[in-house]
Amino acid sequence: MITTTSDAPLLLRLAAPLAWRSDRAIAQKLMGFAATEQGSALDMLRAAEREADPRLRRLFFKHGRDEARHAMRFREAARRVDPRAVARASEAARAERQDLHERLGLMRFVAFVWLSERRAAKQFEVLAAHFARPAAAGSRAELARLFADIVKDERFHVSYSRAILDAWCADGREREVRRALRAVRVHGAWSAWRRAGRPFGTVLSGLVLGVVFVAAMPLFALVARLTRRPAAGWEPVRTELASLDDLRRQF
């Protein structure tokens, strides 16, 4: 059996009213969830396609369908809360597949599924409670119902992935399973760290380039403006890429 300490969702509970303060913020947050769910749908469906074991195939497929449906329900809910915010955000938050079944291998993939589904289930439980609160301010029966429905599916995702891990442990592969869980946790921390590192680098290089543009570029800009050929009409040319040399050139 696998045992882990469950981290208390205190922080989540405290943060909820802040993150979910206005219609617009709620709609955006729901669209964010939709993108995440859609992303995991893509990964689970691809896993079902790649997996050879019929039983796992069926579970991954069901899981993928659930997530795709969740994505759709989140999008619809967001649209009902604030259609304008959704229209503006529409194509911005698009889901991406991580190809984890292929990249991690089966055992680490299932470990990853279990850990991340457990986190999602916890988060959605908190939100179901948040929106079900009797206090007038945060109460939204529709969202409470939505999260409660989705939590049911998430619990199934937690339990089937855990059952697979347990079965492997019972097969005498407990050490492998533990190693897989550890690897996935470390991997998760590493990619979170990388995300945190990037914006700072982006801001810094942006500043440097901005300074360059303002300070050093006027001269070049003038030259660019003076040498710019007026662009209008057909200009006769003769361009043919007939040799390897032509084709190797990058300009």
Partner: protein, 580 residues
């Protein structure tokens, strides 16, 4: 010789494989990654193409990128500097992308694809487009016109394609127009002005145009001056795309045409405001058509050729294509099915094949160049995941059953053979319905597509039946309609019998189905004709709104799951909604 073509890093990335001059496979990355208009390096698509050819990357002789990156960088740098001190944000963002990444494209391609840098070649953006249109065509010589937003510097080009006595083809650019004089960028700016997403919403502008009058042409002629030979000059004070990534038009354009539409406000054609927007759409559409016709005439004058090949994003404007076929004075007009940038991957590969002496393949190009799934694979998958289905043992029984269901008014998904090359579903990844039913467009919309009401659905018609319903003017559109690339008027019989695919102005973007298409799709249309007397079906792509067209059977099932389709056919398996 094996050549892998790559187009990427703008929008719609794709890979294509050419072996011994023959097209083996071509796939857009979005069909595999499920990210619409995916622009990343098409690593999955490349892998897929190689798998279809039974090859590894080590077997590939050359990898060719569809444009010249440093020439493009030169344009971006000069444009940013020309806008100084405005455009600082665009400058810093562009420099970061280019200095950090794009300038070292050769190394990156080699690294990520897993090959060596000395096997990497670079085509020219417009020559890639031109090659995609000419080499797969049946023509020995032709004028080739390519029109898009912008490549490196070029926005439109006239090329001359000839074949020597030795059978070798030659393709050379003979005239070009340069950035910023661009019909593609003008059309996109108006697309954004009308509240649609650039590079996605251009079709909506074309659909909306049918409801309007081009009464803004005088205003637009101040924004874009069009000469008699198709010379185009934009007044840059109306635009912002040269100094901003996020904004394509300036407040001056709004002062001229009225306020831009907020994307969140729906277009209501019953209001004056809705009609104004339709009129703006009609005006830019008319200008685009006039431009394309004038440029095509110029291409004929410059090259002296009787036939025309057309490619580039603007060649996806099916209304303009049809006008070129009618008015530009060519005998034949041929358009590549993936006329947008995705098509550059295949064009670049064919161009290299020709330059290095490979023979030209004269077989008719199938539009289904992506991966296909064997019937047994599909059955095995459906069995494993326990989706209830009926497996048909022969095609006759399958198409008879499907035709009967469609004639009854059911709406179904249809997945057969390889995935389509280009933006249109042509019977490989389609949603099909009865075009005779006047309520069908609304039904398909309500159940799965959720399209704006001004975007029409297209018909697929048996080639030998199409003349009854569509004014095809002999063979005038033969190089366009097999890939759904021309909008033509319906005949009286067509208007009477096919209300679901007749647009507001009495036209349709018809696909004529012939021997190049999947045999099972033809058989289905024949079965439907046997059942109803009409060899035409409503044919729209198999996907939900905002998602790319399905690539694999799993995508199709996930789409089926979230839609209200009555049934889904994958190869010879039929899944019924009630049973699923």
């Amino acid at each position: 010789m094996r050549i892998l073509g790559i187009s990427a890093l703008f929008h719609d990335s794709a890979a294509a494989l050419v072996d011994g001059g023959r097209v083996v496979a071509a796939v857009q990355e979005e069909r595999l990654s499920r990210k619409k208009n995916d622009a990343r390096l098409p690593l999955e698509a490349a892998r897929e193409c190689l798998a279809q050819g039974g090859l590894e990357l080590a077997d590939v002789d050359w990898v060719v990128f569809y444009e010249k990156p440093i020439a493009k960088f030169d344009r971006i740098l000069q444009t940013s500097l020309g806008a100084w001190p405005r455009g600082i944000l665009r400058f810093t963002r562009a420099m970061r992308t280019w200095l950090g990444d794009r300038l070292w494209l050769e190394g990156r391609l080699a690294r990520e694809l897993g090959t060596s840098a000395d096997r990497i070649l670079f085509s020219d953006h417009h020559l890639s487009h031109a090659a995609s249109a000419f080499f797969p065509s049946p023509l020995e010589r032709a004028a080739v016109l390519t029109v898009d937003g912008v490549g490196e510097w070029t926005t439109s080009a006239i090329h001359h394609a000839t074949t020597g006595d030795d059978g070798r083809a030659r393709l050379a650019t003979v005239a070009r127009q340069r950035f910023p004089g661009s019909m593609g960028l003008l059309y996109s700016a108006i697309t954004a002005y009308l509240g649609f997403e650039v590079n996605v919403g251009e079709y909506m502008v074309m659909g909306l145009a049918a409801y309007g009058e081009p009464r803004f042409l005088p205003e637009l002629s101040r924004v874009a001056r069009l000469g008699p030979a198709g010379e185009l000059a934009l007044d840059m004070r109306y635009f912002a795309f040269h100094r901003s990534d996020a904004q394509s038009f300036s407040p001056r354009l709004e002062a001229l045409l009225g306020p831009a539409r907020d994307p969140a406000t729906p277009i209501d054609l019953d209001t004056a405001e809705g009609r104004r927007l339709a009129d703006v759409a009609a005006s830019v559409q008319r200008l685009c058509e006039d431009y394309l016709v004038a440029a095509a005439r110029e291409a004929r004058r410059v090259t002296g050729e009787a036939d025309l090949c057309l490619a580039g994003g603007v060649a996806l404007n099916c209304v303009a294509n049809a006008r070129v076929a009618r008015e530009a004075g060519f005998d034949r007009v041929v358009v590549h099915p993936a006329a947008g940038d995705a098509g550059g991957a295949l064009g670049a590969a064919l161009l290299v094949a020709n330059a290095l002496g490979e023979p030209r393949d004269r077989a008719t190009l199938s539009p289904q160049l992506g991966r296909a799934w064997a019937d047994e694979e599909v059955r095995g998958f459906l069995r494993d995941v326990r989706v209830r289905h009926t497996a048909f043992d022969d095609d006759d029984a399958l198409v008879t059953e499907v035709a009967r269901r469609l004639a009854r008014g059911e709406v179904g998904g249809w997945f057969q053979g390889g995935s389509e090359w280009g933006p249109r579903a042509l019977g490989g990844r389609s949603i099909l319905a009865d075009a005779r039913d006047p309520g069908m467009a609304d039904r398909v919309n309500a159940r799965v597509k959720y399209r704006e009401p001004f975007r029409p659905f297209a018909p697929a018609a048996l080639a030998d039946d199409a003349h009854r319903f569509f004014a095809l003017d002999g063979g005038r559109y033969e190089g366009l309609t097999p890939h759904m690339l021309a909008v033509v008027p319906l005949t009286d019989a067509g208007r009477a019998e096919l209300p679901a695919v007749c647009h507001a102005d009495g036209t349709a973007r018809v696909q004529t189905v012939d021997s190049r298409h999947h045999p099972r799709f033809r058989a289905l249309l024949e079965a439907f004709r046997a059942e109803t007397g009409v060899g035409v079906l409503l044919n729209t792509s198999l996907n939900l709104k905002g998602e790319p067209i399905c690539g694999s059977p799993v995508d199709a099932l996930a789409t089926f799951d979230r839609s209200d389709l009555d049934f889904l056919v994958v190869e010879r398996c039929l899944v019924d909604k009630r049973a699923a």
